[in-house]
């Protein structure tokens, strides 16, 4: 059975003198390596140059607010259940009187923590969320930890900043493709990551 | 004192010291290393005698090749520290007697030879150089030179014969 047409017939015939002399083979090899020596380098020098990540990239988490600035999360715990790495934990609380402009529903997450060392950025929390509250940003990474305290992200880092709202450029493959075409025409929307507070 | 004379004494001290340490050292590796040091000091003596070719060849052949093989073999031996001490007194005495006899013979031979004193008129500084050595070897001593090369060839063929794998014999 032939699966691909790329397989080569292997033979075990005697090598010719030129093949046995070994030096021509070395010269060929040297030619290949020197070609790579002068080839254009593919490295992207990360902190200075940032690569465009694509519209459906899964970066750091964000807890969305609605149009009025109320937190959407109701602490139902479905994201924590869905999380294969068990990175999400939360404490629910009941909304008090006078907090209606802060939280959308009667129940909210008093504590919402994501352990960024456990998180595998699979996006299942995003899928599981019934309130469209948790998203993985397509434009920002989790920055490098320099301290143990920075590993677990609480609500102070996760909840959306109303002055700098997060919008996703594309949601499906088709939209991403359309966006790419736009970008090819010169309408570039390059990524400028927001520094994490 | 003349710097070359003081250097000669220093070198001689080092030679005798390291030669003694070859015999005295308990660890065979140390013994070999002292032997290498002895060859080096001997080369130093050759250079003092303006025999540069001999000095270089001494280092290349003895220190560079033969002693490496010595070390090579000794490193393969698995020597325990306590096994070294089990030499019988008889061996020690026999060794001392043989060594002493050689020393006496050498000393006697040295006393018999008449070494001419230094004469600036007849002194030739180029006698140890490679050109004069080559002329000597290929003109005056051509036959012994060729005989030695045949001897070496025979030894080489013998080594190849010994090292050759016989039919049916497996080494590994």
């Amino acid at each position: 059975m032939q699966l691909t047409n790329r397989s080569k017939q292997v033979s075990n015939k005697e090598m010719t003198f030129m093949e046995r002399a070994y030096l021509p083979a070395i010269a060929t090899g040297l030619g290949i390596t020197i070609k790579h020596f002068f080839a254009k380098k593919v490295t992207i020098e990360y902190p200075e140059v940032k690569r465009y990540l694509g519209p459906v990239f899964r970066g750091r988490h964000i807890l969305k607010r609605d149009a009025d600035g109320k937190e959407r999360c109701t602490a139902c715990g479905l994201c924590a259940v869905a999380c294969p790495a068990e990175a999400i934990s939360m404490v629910a609380a009941e909304r008090e009187k006078g907090e209606e402009n802060l939280y959308r529903e009667e129940k909210y997450a008093a504590v919402y923590e994501v352990n960024m060392l456990r998180c595998i950025f699979c996006g299942l929390c995003e899928e599981a969320c019934p309130k469209q509250a948790v998203y993985l940003r397509h434009d920002e990474f989790v920055p490098v930890f320099t301290d143990r305290d920075q590993v677990i992200w609480g609500k102070d880092l996760l909840v959306e900043d109303m002055n700098n709202r997060y919008t996703r450029e594309a949601w499906t493959k088709e939209e991403a493709k359309a966006l790419d075409d736009k970008r090819a025409n010169g309408e570039v929307t390059n990524v400028t990551p927001r520094p994490v507070p | 004192m003349n710097p070359s004379i003081s250097f000669f004494y220093f070198l001689s001290f080092l030679t005798v010291f390291s030669a003694l340490m070859v015999v005295v050292a308990k660890n065979p590796i140390h013994s070999v290393l002292y032997l290498i040091l002895t060859f080096f000091t001997l080369s130093g003596h050759y250079i003092l005698l303006n025999a540069q070719f001999l000095a270089a060849v001494n280092i290349i052949v003895y220190a560079g090749a033969i002693m490496v093989l010595f070390l090579f073999v000794i490193m393969f031996l698995n020597m325990k520290q306590d096994e070294v001490e089990t030499k019988a007194n008889l061996t020690k005495i026999a060794g001392t007697i043989v060594g002493g006899t050689v020393f006496v013979i050498l000393f006697g031979a040295y006393r018999k030879t008449a070494i001419p004193a230094f004469d600036p008129q007849s002194y030739q500084s180029q006698v140890g150089m490679i050109e004069s050595l080559g002329h000597l070897l290929f003109k005056d001593y051509l036959l012994p030179f060729e005989l030695i090369s045949i001897l070496l060839l025979v030894a080489m063929i013998g080594a190849v014969m010994l090292g050759k794998r016989e039919i049916g014999e497996r080494h590994f």
Partner: protein, 359 residues
């Protein structure tokens, strides 16, 4: 006069020494840069412009690491190993002619540490000693892998020394002198030995790869079989010395190759440049500048071979041990002997005919 000569000699020797060290230092940088470029990467570029401060950073790191001696190691020999490796590596640079002469106030200063009439034998002797650093260090570590690495190094060096010496003899037969300065000046005017000794050159090159323990002959430090080889137990600056010695050896052998086969500081059109310079700037200045150009050419040649070492390192995979021995004993040595016979025949029969035709 006695003192000035002594001072001049001291200055040249210190300069040669410092130059060798600096070149070896930057070889470590170049090695990583070349490795990066060949693998389509950029190599070190964070420390200084283009990563040029990387060697200092490496040295600083090496110095501040814990200087560790294993409990059951032979302490003195453990220290002696890397010291010897470094010593033997540095010794050989003394006799290499880096250029012709400088003229100061009518004094001719040769750009060579020591002009010796056994120059090449001296280099050969020092190279032969190079294996002791590895052997002693490997044995003193009291580690089986180190010992195996040391033993491999010893047998490899001894085997390849023979072919190396035999390929050298063909050159010596042509030059009829052992002095490196003499060999270089005989190659004046495009009369390079590579044109007469292509086979000898290839043998010498291969053997110098083996003598430097470089890929494809770096069996003594073969990671897949021997952990780290002879320097498994080494750390800190002692390991640094071993690695550094390898780079010094690389530079020295490159310099020797360019001296023996590529005319040293000679380059085509040398006489024309010399005449132009001396007529334009006077005998002393013109001579000095011509010498500087020659030295630059020499370093260009030597550094090309250093680059060649790196180039080959990222091209050819490591040999298996039996392949290494087969190549050394069954291929290179017979080839070198054939080369000697051919050279002798050429000198005996061909040379008179050619000189007759030319005259």
């Amino acid at each position: 006069m006695e003192l000035t000569e002594f001072t001049i000699k001291s200055i040249t020797i210190v300069a040669v020494f410092a130059l060798t060290l600096v070149i070896a230092m930057y070889s470590t940088w170049a090695e990583r840069k070349v490795a990066g470029f060949i693998q389509d990467r950029r190599g070190p570029n964070r420390a200084g412009w283009g990563g040029l401060l990387q060697p200092m950073a490496d040295a600083g790191k090496m110095f501040f690491k814990e200087d560790f001696i294993p409990a059951l190691a032979n302490k003195w020999l453990f220290i002696a190993g890397p010291s010897l490796a470094m010593l033997t590596a540095l010794l050989a640079s003394a006799v290499i002619p880096f250029g012709s002469t400088f003229r100061f106030n009518g004094v001719e200063v040769p750009l060579q540490g020591v002009e010796s009439n056994i120059g090449i034998l001296y280099v050969f002797g020092v190279v032969a000693l190079g294996v002791y650093g590895i052997m002693i260090g490997g044995w003193a570590s009291n580690n089986k892998f180190s010992l195996l690495g040391a033993i491999r190094a010893a047998s490899q060096n001894i085997s390849y020394e023979i072919a190396m010496g035999l390929s050298l003899i063909a050159v010596l037969m042509m030059s009829s002198s052992l002095s490196l300065g003499e060999i270089v000046s005989q190659q004046h005017g495009g009369n390079w030995n590579i044109f007469y000794q292509p086979l000898g050159f290839i043998i010498f090159l291969t053997c110098s790869f083996a003598e430097c323990n470089r890929v494809p002959f770096d069996l003594p430090e073969c990671e897949t079989e021997l952990v780290g080889g002879y320097h498994t137990e080494y750390g800190s600056m002692k390991l640094g010395f071993y690695l550094f010695a390898e780079y010094i050896n690389m530079f020295i052998s490159s310099a020797i190759i360019s001296t023996l086969y590529f005319g040293g500081y000679n380059y085509p059109g040398m006489d024309w440049v010399y005449n132009q310079l001396t007529s334009a700037m006077g005998t002393a200045t013109g001579h000095n500048i011509a010498t500087l150009i020659g030295t630059a050419v020499f370093f260009g040649k030597a550094l090309f071979f250093v680059f060649f070492y790196m180039w080959v390192r990222w091209t050819i995979p490591r040999f298996r041990y039996d392949q290494l021995m087969n190549l050394g004993w069954k291929k290179l040595i017979p080839l070198a002997i054939i080369n000697i016979i051919l050279t002798a025949a050429g000198i005996l029969f061909l040379k008179p005919i050619i000189t007759q035709i030319l005259n």
